[in-house]
Symmetry: D3
Subunit: 336 residues, 6 copies
């Protein structure tokens, strides 16, 4: 069988010979019962993860390579206990920068710059000048902008890929916009579109500090000890503190929208929703996360038949959709 060059993880098939570059997620040295050392690796790129085993030069490689390094690998794919496993025939560490990082980290299927532009455009339509300034200054803040173009929306569970946060944020904001329009027909101006959208933008923004996501996504120390609810409030304080005359009332609303967005104390919100806008933002955040989680889960399921395996978060299997979830780019939800 001839060798396949530069395959993605998702393309590796049983018995395939290949050569290519991968990100090392985990690396461990073991010794077999005859005293022979070998390496267990988990390799990843943006399409998935795969186990690998190295028998030759294992000790030497173990000294050179660390988790998060890039590795050039020549190998063959076997099935082991029902899972694919790479038997590595040759491997060498790649120097930093020898390949673009976005090949190795899973990413949004959309153009994140386009998502950013759409989000910016949406917030240019806010009525209240202070709410608009708060939103636009936040989006234009260099640190925020750099991070929001790469951040995932979660370590796992939903939108867990580079750009996932902005993809989720834009989707939530667009649904909130539709609901503002819808309920205006029912209850007049009682529900504030400005506050709904502020809630949409800021509810998860603390995640750009809660997670570290240069390569594999992890919680940062302040993420663990403080959490994205409070980190989001601190960002509001920082941005609003530089806007002269920023009204206290609006700052309280913005923070409450962030603090209450998980809906219940037991889900980590220190406050339950006490305003109609906080209540709606909570529902839409929950809905959009779950829809994404379930459809990704269905898309990736490999069970034969109509049912997926049991989803651990939701503690149930799902009936697969008739049409497989697919992506329509470049920016979703653009209504032209």
């Amino acid at each position: 069988m001839s060798t396949v060059y530069s395959p993605f993880v998702a393309e590796l098939k049983e018995k395939m010979d290949f050569e290519g570059a991968f990100l090392v997620k985990i690396i461990q040295l073991h010794v077999d019962k005859n005293g022979r050392p070998y390496l267990n690796l988990i390799l990843m790129d943006r399409t998935g993860e795969i186990e690998a085993r190295v028998w030759d030069n294992a000790s030497k490689l173990a000294e050179e390579v660390r988790a998060q390094d890039l590795l050039r690998v020549a190998g063959k794919v076997n099935l082991y206990q029902g899972r694919r496993q790479v038997i590595v025939e040759a491997a060498a560490k790649l120097p930093e920068g020898s390949a673009p990082l976005d090949r190795f980290v899973p990413a949004s299927s959309y153009d994140v710059n386009r998502l950013y532009a759409d989000l910016h455009a949406l917030f240019s339509t806010l009525e209240d000048p202070f709410a608009k300034r708060l939103a636009l200054n936040t989006l234009e803040d260099p640190e925020v902008k750099k991070k929001i173009l790469r951040a995932p929306a979660a370590k796992s569970v939903h939108h867990a890929f580079a750009g996932g946060l902005i993809e989720h944020t834009l989707s939530v904001c667009r649904i909130l916009d539709k609901l503002a329009h819808h309920y205006r027909h029912y209850y007049g101006k009682a529900v504030s579109r400005d506050l709904l959208l502020i809630g949409g933008l800021f509810h998860d923004i603390g995640k750009i500090f809660e997670l570290s996501f240069e390569r594999a996504t992890e919680y940062s120390k302040e993420g663990q000890l403080i959490g994205h609810h409070v980190l989001g409030c601190e960002l509001v304080d920082r941005i609003a503190g530089k806007i002269e005359g920023f009204p206290l009332e609006l700052k309280l609303h913005a923070k409450h929208l962030i603090l209450a967005h998980h809906g219940k104390l037991e889900y980590g919100s220190p406050k339950v929703p006490l305003t109609i806008e906080a209540l709606i933002v909570h529902y839409v955040d929950d809905l959009d996360s779950k829809v994404n989680m379930v459809l990704e889960f269905i898309a990736e399921d490999v069970q034969p038949g109509e049912w997926t395996a049991v989803n651990r978060m939701m503690e149930r299997p799902f009936l697969k959709t008739k049409v497989k979830p697919e992506v329509v780019g470049p920016s979703p939800g653009v209504e032209t």
Copy 2:
């Protein structure tokens, strides 16, 4: 002070003298400590309820009048332990039909025939011919149509007024329609608009049998023993049973959408959502009920200051909206 004629309950103010007709919700005869009999009543019309006390001719009136009767009352309004109370000076039972019933039962602010027409129009746009037939045959079924034009969405809590069910149903369906459109940009045809809308129409339709709502809303016996989830499934069976070639698959989906719409077993759903459409219908039903409940609660709150009293369902007070909720008729959500 001069007498006010035909006031609504909501218009009765302390010290006002008035004359008018009301529906008797509760009637009880008591004897005071001097052995003098008196009547305690709860009177209602579509704007609210008020306590009343009759001292003259109490025994005679007690023999003539029953709960759910109409009563002509002349009286005066006092404050008793912080609540308004009518001291009845003269009262006489009104013959059946002497006044239009809709004066006495709270009702949707919208034209229910217009809501019905909007709903019918929406379901004419379904793609799948069997789904469309199921929906339209249901709406056109004479018993269903008669009941759905009057049914409340609940005994209390949310949309608890004549026409409340169709108002809630149409609102849910319109939001589902928007979401179908929104997620098509993200996941292609994976989420079925037809199933979402079938879920919107049928999720609460069993309430037309679960509740009796000719005058004051009560649970029917089958409502208590069987519940609107199963009663809704029986309606699907009945309507679909008359459509030749109706696919079993679609019937299973329709029933699952009904059975799972409360989202969790502990909220009375015998099945948790196992399809993406059932999950979304659950969220939108919950969102729309809560938004209505909270905004009605804010609109009716009489507490001084920025905060409402504690809402018993949600176990919290709410911050009042800046703009009071108001209604924009005739059919909400019409986008022209």
Copy 3:
């Protein structure tokens, strides 16, 4: 060591050579690290399950054999990580019908026809003619009869074997009969024996549609999406619909007995018991299921000492009974 012919799974011992026929529950093809293909199987018959591994002709066999096929196997039993494992030396697919299916599926220890006759006799004693007709017509319905003679009471947990449903149903009905008699001495005719027995017969009957149990027991699609509570109600509707003059009141009671039998919403009942009979049926169903589950668990436990392993459903170990649970046939509970 000489070869054992046609052993049951329960009889396979370490180091035994044997030849016999088994049902294939699961079949998977793998490749070892030298590129050599092998098969992992789970084989079953009515006495249990065992893992098996095929090294010779693995690929060819993988093409011929599917899950749920019958397989003739010659092999040897090893211990692997503390569990028995068959090393297959030769294997061949058996043609459909070459062996009676009941050898391969675990079954009630009782004569199901005798259980059926006992159940039928019990329901001939109902007083109310419509209740009696409902019960007997159901038992005599050809589809119901065929299925109820084979259905298990659950996929696992309790009475999880062919005939388990009718065994559990008869046991519950007999206990209910005793309780009707008992409480008549306390509360006169307040508790209806007819309703208790209707509850006993119908509470789990929806399981004949919720499960598919020709070979290994699985949930059917309507089982997953609708559930045995509602499927049981649909059966009541279907049978009662053909009995002229069937009283609505009795139909409501029958359905309520089914819907409420899990006792609490969080256990999947859409209604809590609201009648004294529904309350009693719930307790007896729960008691009989748990007694069966625990005694089977004790009977099958292989731990040394007085205590069983931890039962996962009940989250505790059990003290073993002094006398091991044993079966006394042909129909249990016959009092002569």
Copy 4:
């Protein structure tokens, strides 16, 4: 209207003049807004409780009469806020012993001596000599016997009347006896009839120390601080300690049956059932308490219509039984 002599509380009707003796449950002195003192009382006898008000000689009576005294009352019945209330015209404290106490405390409808004899006879049939001795010595212990002939099964909720404990105990034991017989046909001697019955007798016996029930039922101090689970175990220790050669194993079983009978930790059992007998005793205790509670609740309900008011313990209304619960004496469950 002529005066009724010696009526029971249950017989007092609006506007009735009467004279009779009652137990004082609560007595409080107040002053009206004109400075005139009056007494509020709650009077009781075995048929129920009623509020009463004394205007004449209130201060003097307040000095003479205490809660738990007997009082001779002449008065008249009024309705006050929908409840009956006695206006006392004359009242005088009765000397201790001037009337038999059992007129004033609600009691079992059965002959408690007959219940005791039945229970004693049942335990004479135990097989294991030590189990039999433990049971009979307990029943024959003078302190236990005296108390068990009077104790209620609870302060309120179920069997809350003199003799309620022995009534409940006998009912539970008889059901357990039937189940022992029933399951012998299924599982042979795995379930021990002796242990089931020991569980039936002892599960609630600690209540004779947990409650004080000479007049109105209250918790004793040791009841509050220790509880009937542990008090029951202490009784087992005390009785078994006097039986030579009493096996430790049986003592452990007896205590475990007591400690585990509430079934779950959160219901006050420090141990969950770990033996098949403890599991069954828990179910039957729960069933018998609930059946008694619900049927008493239905029997006493005064709501018009088919439904009772909401039962606070069970958080639901109940559908009334077609036939009102009635009592068939002298000892229930005697099968002759």
Copy 5:
């Protein structure tokens, strides 16, 4: 009976004539059934609250007096439905400042300036210079100092009086100091005394902003929408922001100690304790609040007998202590 001058609420006894000044907590105008207006008031001072009724000049007084005003009252004490009630004979509003406010608001029994000095002295002993600066700068901040000398620890429940926060804070800090010393003998320097004390000082400090407590204690708007956890973190940011070189690590610890001090998400902490110090601070805060709550509850209980009434927070009665809780001033816990 002669008139008592300037009594405290706690000293008002049935039938007493008195004259004195009180704070108006609630004021409501009603009309009796003869059309005569009257006022219902709740009067308070630092020893408690009492209901009052005004019949003369009620309307005029209603126009002049508002909640939170001071009122001079001459009246008499009656018992009404078992509770004391003042019948007001004459009343007049007092001008602002005509009496020292601390007569009317319940307060710590200790000298709050002494408590403050003790707290300040304790934090002068911290080892880490930044931790010491953070604590002392906070205590010395003019706004914080002014507020902390008056703030209660809660709106009700525990330490609900002026100075309650500093009393609770000092008690918690002293216990933490003892535990730091205790565990040093067990685990060496693993548990940081500095962090424990920082947690003790800051855990509840956000309450100075969460509550408004000039007269009667209420939640502020930022208290409702943001809560004392996050408000405490903002204070840390503000004070630490002015200390040059303040280490990020210490700021994270301080905030985590605040955010995690309720111990569980469902109690309003957005983070569970993840450091050993946060875990200990949580326990000690909980312990000290409960001890204060229970001992105050026992001290104020007026039930006859050994048991208190049921405590609503803890859902149980308590056995009264043999010795009544009493206060030993001026600063508690001073060990000299």
Copy 6:
């Protein structure tokens, strides 16, 4: 590499050759796929546990050696799936008593006789003569003394080593002593130091009967069926029964302190704390157990970085302490 003699389990490193004695915790015989028998063992000493595999003479050894035997082993340490595993080259059973048992069972780092002396001294300071007698007679009871010098405080979780119970008991008593002193300054003599210390000594003392701990710690049969709460009460009864004139009141308090020390019914306490002392004892027991558990968990964690692995009991990782927990002997908390 040269051989290491008599290493502790904690000292075994990958690739090390060694010889030494260990306690056999688990022993199982298997056969590999070539029919070759081998042994899987878990070996332990007081520093930890390790897996071992024997290939030579496996069958013979399997016949001679049982769990809880001592074994002399010569072998080599490999890494297998990331865990250390001993490959046994030679092994022989050691005769009983050939090595001191305390080498093989993990133990308190303190001198248990010193802990015992400290505890005895502390209880000599009780004021109430009966409380003092109860405590000292218990400590001096030969069976209690023998067991308390060896018992662990739990099977796992916290203080799970020989002497763990007395270490935990002394720590709890000392903290209670400090709190008694602390709260005396706040509430006078309301909180009884005697009762606090009685609670500290007896709360867990039933564990000396609940656990069997000669070698590996297991639950005893009475531990499983009765539990340490009730076993502790039985000990109080036994010791107090021999003290003439022992007051009932004190016995009730002592038992309540034991029964309520888990704080909530769902944690196995049949009574919630109803006295102030029971409440405080519950908090301090919980605090001291958790502090020990978390610090031991941190001390043993081998994860790289600042965070431990997830603690299964607490369902969270912990931030490691800056200074590693270390022990300062001989008796902790001695303040000289």
